[in-house]
């Protein structure tokens, strides 16, 4: 199987978007990550839902997680309003965040190749090299897992074609 067979389109956000707006997209679509593009529209990073959540939690609680337990319920609810707003760009540039550059794969790469690269880079999403802007195609981790399961199933039961249909539905969500 080739990467091009499982590549899909994904929404791409820009660096100027607020972390709050990114959080709304993630929450609305139950995504695990979103793709961020640079000024030219080229995908430059994948920001995970956890990193977006980091932008909404006060930095002192990220530095010292045990402090989160000292609040009562009322105090804990008040804390959210006091967090200064951050953009996705600031989040990417923050040395403390673990935002990674996006993994690029060739459209002709095999499933095995892209799976190995995604494991090595711990990537949630890879961009397929070629078109730049909103037409960019991506390979998502759920899609790769789905394809891997399907291929394994076919390899172990070559005469039992069709049984893998239930694994064919790729989750377009990242």
């Amino acid at each position: 199987m080739r990467v091009s067979e499982i590549a899909i389109s994904l929404p791409v956000v820009d660096r100027g978007m607020s972390a709050l707006a990114a959080a709304q997209i993630i929450a609305r679509d139950s995504r695990a990550s979103i793709v961020v593009a640079d000024a030219r529209g080229k995908p430059e990073a994948v920001i995970s839902a956890v990193d977006v959540l980091r932008a909404l939690v006060p930095s002192y609680l990220l530095d010292d997680v045990s402090l989160a337990a000292v609040f009562d319920e009322k105090g804990a609810d008040e804390v959210w309003a006091g967090v200064p707003p951050q953009t996705i760009g600031e989040l990417i540039d923050d040395e403390e965040s673990r935002v990674l550059g996006i993994l690029e794969v060739e459209s002709t790469a095999t499933l095995l190749d892209v799976a190995a690269q995604m494991c090595q880079e711990r990537a949630l999403v890879a961009v397929v090299k070629g078109v730049v802007n909103e037409k960019s195609k991506f390979v998502t981790l759920p899609a790769v897992l789905d394809a891997v399961l399907h291929t394994r199933h076919r390899a172990s039961a070559p005469n039992d074609a069709g049984d893998g249909d239930d694994t064919k539905q790729q989750d377009a969500r990242t």
Partner: protein
């Protein structure tokens, strides 16, 4: 002057410039500089690994390693957060009283932990308290980091330069306590007065916010009571070992390593947590520095400078102590005090050997100047840089000049107060 000496001086000066400007990570600079010293023949493998005078000071490396492991485990217990919140509640939300309590806690912790660890522990809880009280956090953070630099001066393990001085000068934990703790105590009292003068107008008491501090539950910060008890017992034993080390006949580095070993054994934490706070980069930075300075010792450069200094000083050791105190404060305020003290320590050792007991106070001048000088500018100490980073991330940036304007006042006053102390105590 031979070509080898000229090359060694160029390598040393170049490394110093790169460390001071931070164009390249300091560990990289120190290790490359050390490598170049070996390449030009300024030292060799025996000189690097086995010579007490020209090699890596393993006492310093392993004392730092042992303490990093112990403190790394202790800080996972949440005891420091407990103390800070407890103090804020005790102060009933009055900002200046809270500031005084946090300053005292920070100074006390700094005496036993390294300054960067101390501010990493105290800054987050300070942000929390200030957010609850709706008071500006910048005065608190500046007050704490300066208290950390002051408190760290008082003991052998409080600041890395002191560890180098202790090792090169053959000084014990008790020597530091007896000679430096009294003046640090005085400086702390004066410093609290300075905090009042510098920050009082920014600290407005808001009775409506007090309830938000009183609602905090410090007990919840203690994550692991068993870990806390074990850590405190081991720290107590290690500190007792430091105090009794001349009786026990065991050096501070071995005591720290034994303490770390016992703590690892009884807490059974996974290696990732045990070594989480070991700053390998700092340890390798020290290794590189020791090799570079050892190369200069090996080539006779330090001895030559020492002879020139001895001739210039004559028997005016109070003058030398004064020069060392103020000179060290200025230099340490601009460049990292670790390479400065690593360079000055062998030189001071030569001066003390030549002058005997009369020259011994030079060690204390060096320690006071180098440690307290860290308050001079925003880049004068690693702890300052760390706090500036924490403040920026929290949305309360502290500019270089905001910090430095307070630093100039605090350093000028604290260093000036050290001079009469040195005179009265050692030269009267």
């Amino acid at each position: 002057m031979s070509v080898q000496i000229i090359l060694a001086l160029i390598v040393f000066a170049g490394a110093y410039v790169l460390i001071a400007t931070e164009w390249v990570p300091r560990m990289t600079v120190a290790l490359v500089g050390a490598g170049l010293m070996i390449v030009i023949g300024a030292t060799d493998d025996h000189g690097v690994f086995f010579s007490e005078k020209t090699g890596v000071d393993w006492n310093v490396i392993f004392l730092l390693l042992g303490m990093m492991i112990i403190v790394g485990i202790l800080q996972q217990s949440g005891v420091f957060e407990f103390l800070a919140i407890w103090a804020a509640k005790l102060a009933k939300g009055r900002p200046f009283v809270i500031m005084v309590m946090l300053v005292v806690i920070t100074a006390l912790l700094s005496a036993f932990l390294d300054n960067v660890t101390t501010v990493l522990l105290i800054a987050p809880v300070t942000l929390l308290i200030c957010e609850r009280l709706a008071v500006p956090v910048v005065p608190f953070l500046i007050a704490e980091v300066m208290a950390s630099n002051i408190g760290g001066t008082s003991t052998l393990i409080g600041d890395p330069p002191n560890i180098i001085i202790a090792s090169r000068g053959g000084l014990s934990f008790n020597d530091f306590l007896i000679n430096l703790a009294p003046i640090v105590l005085i400086l702390l009292v004066v410093y609290i007065g300075l905090c009042w003068l510098m920050f009082r107008t920014q600290l407005r008491f808001n009775p409506e916010r007090v309830e938000r501090v009183m609602a905090l539950n410090p007990r919840e910060a203690i994550r692991d009571v068993s870990l806390l008890i074990k850590s405190l017992v081991v720290i107590g034993l290690v500190l007792s070992g430091f105090i009794l080390h001349s009786v026990l006949g065991v050096g501070p580095a071995i005591i720290a390593l034994l303490g770390a070993g016992v703590l690892v054994l009884i807490t059974r934490l996974e290696p990732r947590k045990i070594f989480a706070d070991v700053e390998w980069e700092t340890l390798l930075f020290f290794v590189g520095l020791f090799i570079m300075v050892g190369s200069l010792v090996n080539l006779g450069v330090i001895e030559y400078v020492g002879k020139v200094a001895i001739e210039a000083i004559g028997d005016n050791y109070f003058g030398a102590a004064t020069g060392l105190l103020f000179g060290s404060a200025v230099v340490s305020g601009i460049v990292d005090n670790i390479p400065y003290v690593a360079t000055l320590a062998p030189l001071t050792s030569d001066l003390v050997q030549a002058g005997g007991a009369a020259a011994h106070p030079l060690w204390w001048s060096l320690a006071l100047g180098a440690d307290l000088g860290g308050n001079l500018t925003a880049i004068g100490a690693s702890a300052n840089v760390v706090v500036l980073g924490i403040a920026k991330r929290a949305g309360h940036p502290i500019s270089f000049w905001t910090f430095t304007k307070y630093g100039l006042i605090v350093t000028a006053i604290t260093i000036s107060l050290c001079l009469p102390y040195i005179w009265l105590r050692y030269f009267m």
